[in-house]
């Protein structure tokens, strides 16, 4: 093939430009840290990157849901703990009142203390997580237990509908404990209080027998609730640590798709630089000489 200066120049220029643009692309990968800067760099990779990025955002959100579930559950837990302590105290007072050495005035005092204890149990059960009453179900703005009325109203005013938190794709957990589950305990304590207050012998006998065994049964139910709440908390914790693992996995996947593989990129860059320098050298050597240099006029 016949070779001319201009075709040699054009070829040399095209080669230099090609090498330089490869080098620019690789150095952009190295300096930017991203293998994909726009979809056309790797269409399939971008597809995956878009999905992984959404998954990551979703996982972070599920973890924050789990934190919200935890705060709801711990508010419930501490309220139940307080109620449990109060129940203990009521039981002690019952045994004290049933003792023959306690006189009528003493029983009245016990009845009065029990009334205070029941009110404070109800106040504990009016606990909130954020601005939601935790024992009201979805009627989160309604106080579950009213402490102001006379005669006292020990029934729950919540709607008993489940409050759920989403702690993973398609995974929901019920975080609330219905107030109705505590009505039994309150009514057992109220029965004791009433019977001690009335002071009749029959009532005293009932307090020492039927009422006490009712209280024990309700207390048993309370510790059942306590352990259910603990189980919920465990479930939320387990979900959160699964979410943390998943975050790490997806982060690695995203990085694998999107980020520059420095070992490869730097090796490529070094090879391209060497190629570019060789091309420059060859071009300088080829385009300089001409027959003109050797012809003397």
């Amino acid at each position: 093939m016949r070779v001319t200066q201009s075709s040699m120049n054009a070829r040399a220029l095209a080669d230099l430009q090609r090498t330089a643009s490869q080098m620019a692309a690789t150095s952009q990968q190295v300096s930017g840290g991203k293998r994909i800067s726009q979809p056309s760099d790797d269409a399939l990779g971008t597809h995956d990157a878009v999905r992984y990025r959404d998954e990551l955002a979703g996982l972070a959100q599920y973890r924050s849901n789990a934190a919200s579930a935890t705060s709801f559950v711990s508010a419930t837990d501490s309220a139940l703990q307080q109620v449990s302590d109060i129940t203990q105290r009521v039981r002690e007072l019952t045994l004290q009142g049933a003792n023959a050495t306690t006189d009528a005035a003493g029983r009245q005092a016990i009845a009065a203390e029990m009334d205070q204890l029941i009110t404070s149990a109800k106040e504990s059960l009016n606990a909130k997580a954020g601005d939601a009453y935790v024992f009201s179900g979805t009627a989160s703005t309604t106080k579950p237990f009213d402490t102001t009325t006379t005669p006292p109203d020990d029934t729950s005013h919540g709607d008993g509908k489940p409050v759920v938190r989403s702690i993973g794709p398609g995974v929901s957990v019920r975080v609330d404990t219905p107030g109705t589950a505590l009505e039994g305990l309150l009514s057992a304590m109220r029965a004791l209080q009433t019977h001690f207050a009335s002071g009749t012998a029959a009532d005293q006998a009932t307090a020492a027998t039927t009422d006490l065994s009712n209280l024990d049964a309700a207390s048993e139910a309370l510790s059942g609730l306590n352990s259910a709440v603990g189980a919920t908390q465990n479930r939320v914790d387990a979900a959160d640590s699964r979410l943390a693992d998943a975050q790490l996995t997806v982060k690695n996947l995203l990085s694998g798709v999107e980020d520059t593989d420095y070992a490869t990129a730097l090796t490529d860059l070094a090879a391209q630089q060497a190629g570019y320098q060789a091309a420059l050298k060859a071009t300088a050597a080829v385009i300089q000489p001409s027959l003109l240099d050797y012809l003397t006029p």
């Binding site: 878009v50 990025r53 849901n65 919540g158």
Partner: protein, 439 residues
């Protein structure tokens, strides 16, 4: 019949003149070594018609033919027409794919994916905001955040749809500009028509209008990047030029320029025009991307509205989608204010709804289309460069060759001069000294 003593002078004269023409041609080649579209020329030498010496000139009584020197037969353009066709075909593909690649590059810039400012990030935050609302059903801040994120999503969908529509409108506008009566296509076509006249006249006189032909070929090369070019020989060196696959031809058999209507341009027209038509057409690449985007918008609206149980989004296209709701409720119909059934149902659309999956497919499609067009453009560029190199190998000026020719013609001129002066000396002896014995 005897041969004139001065015959040899004439032979030398012709040689001198011919070598001089050779030098002239070499000088012209060197002068135009860097002229785009220039074809190297060659002075074609031929021995002159011999002088017929009558019978009896030779010992055996036969006649003879006596050489009369050299003539320049023609100044030939060294060009391969087949390379021209190949080059123009590649230029056409290059023009088309470059235009499409640039257009789609703008389209993918609109998406700004993968990153934190694209629709994916906004959709993620939108669904996150529903989750946050589900955790804080009565929080006004969480309710407002849902509405705010939804607005950001619809704004982005509107903006991308508008960007794509603008891209189509710009492409249509560029077609009109290219085909404007004051535009580049008209100017080139007019010049071709003028060159046709000049070339026709020169050819009729038996001349070889090399430089005019070069200029016309250059114009055809330029046009081939704008649209497909087909050349038909009309005799006497004139050509008609079909352009963009449109009838009537751009320059017709009667040398009239017919500018194609913008509406007649399709993606089959090739070149920049074909690429622009592909971008602008309601059935083209950008239009189909817009359809996909509309599908994403209506899918989002349907899935969220169904999950929410009433019209949260309104509008079923990417350009028209807006947030219809003015307030949001997390709780389901039978729940108290602390319920979150609706919020959870909407948030669940992140995994169950089609939006993010179809969007990821969409982004991948834009990327793949752009990469495909860019790849085709690169291939066409490489092929065009290779064809150009092949063409240059035939019609390009090689300095080494011209230098060699320079020396060759210079020596030829010197030798012819020497022959001339030798003959002159001979005649000097004959004329000035013969018959001067004893003077």
């Amino acid at each position: 019949m005897p041969i004139s003593s001065f015959s040899g002078l004439n032979v030398s004269l012709r040689a001198l003149l011919a070598e001089q023409r050779g030098l002239d041609t070499t000088a012209q080649n060197i002068a135009n070594a860097n002229t785009v579209g220039y074809t190297r020329q060659e002075a074609v030498f031929s021995a002159s018609t011999p002088y017929q010496v009558q019978a009896g000139a030779l010992q055996n009584g036969a006649g003879a033919q006596l050489g009369q020197g050299v003539d320049v037969l023609t100044y030939q353009r060294v060009r391969d027409q087949f390379s021209d066709l190949q080059f123009r075909a590649q230029q056409m593909t290059l023009g088309q794919q470059q235009t499409v690649a640039e257009g789609l590059d703008q389209a993918q810039d609109l998406l700004s994916e993968p990153g934190d400012s694209g629709l994916q990030s906004m959709l993620s935050k939108f669904f996150d905001s529903w989750q946050t609302l589900a955790s804080n059903p009565t929080s006004t801040a969480a309710q407002n955040a849902v509405l705010g994120q939804a607005k950001i999503v619809t704004d982005q969908l509107n903006a991308v749809a508008k960007g794509l529509t603008d891209l189509q409108a710009n492409a249509a506008g560029q077609i009109t500009n290219l085909l404007d009566p004051n535009g580049p296509v008209k100017a080139k076509a007019d010049e071709i028509a003028q060159l046709n006249v000049a070339i026709g006249q020169a050819t009729a006189l038996g001349q070889q209008p090399n430089d005019l032909l070069d200029r016309r070929d250059q114009l055809l090369d330029d046009l081939s990047k704008v649209g497909s070019v087909s050349v038909t020989d009309q005799g006497n060196g004139r050509i008609s030029v079909g352009f963009g696959g449109v009838t009537p031809p751009l320059v017709d058999a009667t040398n009239t320029v017919n500018l194609p209507a913008a509406a007649s341009i399709t993606s089959a027209s090739g070149g920049t025009l074909g690429g622009l038509a592909d971008l602008a057409s309601p059935t083209g690449t950008v239009a189909s991307l817009l359809t996909d985007l509309d599908g994403i918008a209506s899918g989002l609206a349907t899935s969220v509205n169904t999950a929410y149980g009433s019209a949260f989004f309104s509008g079923a296209t990417a350009a028209a989608i807006t947030v219809g709701a003015t307030s949001v409720t997390a709780a389901g119909a039978t729940e108290g204010p602390g319920g979150n059934a609706r919020a959870l149902a909407v948030a669940g659309q992140r995994e169950q709804g089609p939006t993010l999956a179809t969007y990821a497919d969409f982004v991948a499609r834009v990327g793949a289309e752009q990469a495909g067009a860019a790849q085709k453009a690169t291939t066409a560029q490489t092929l065009a460069a290779a064809t150009e190199e092949r063409r240059q190998s035939v019609n390009g000026v090689s300095m080494d060759e011209e230098m060699t020719n320079l020396v060759r013609f210079q020596r030829g001129y010197q030798a012819a001069s020497r022959a001339f002066s030798t003959m002159d000396e001979m005649l000097d002896v004959l004329i000035n000294r013969t018959g001067r014995v004893g003077l």
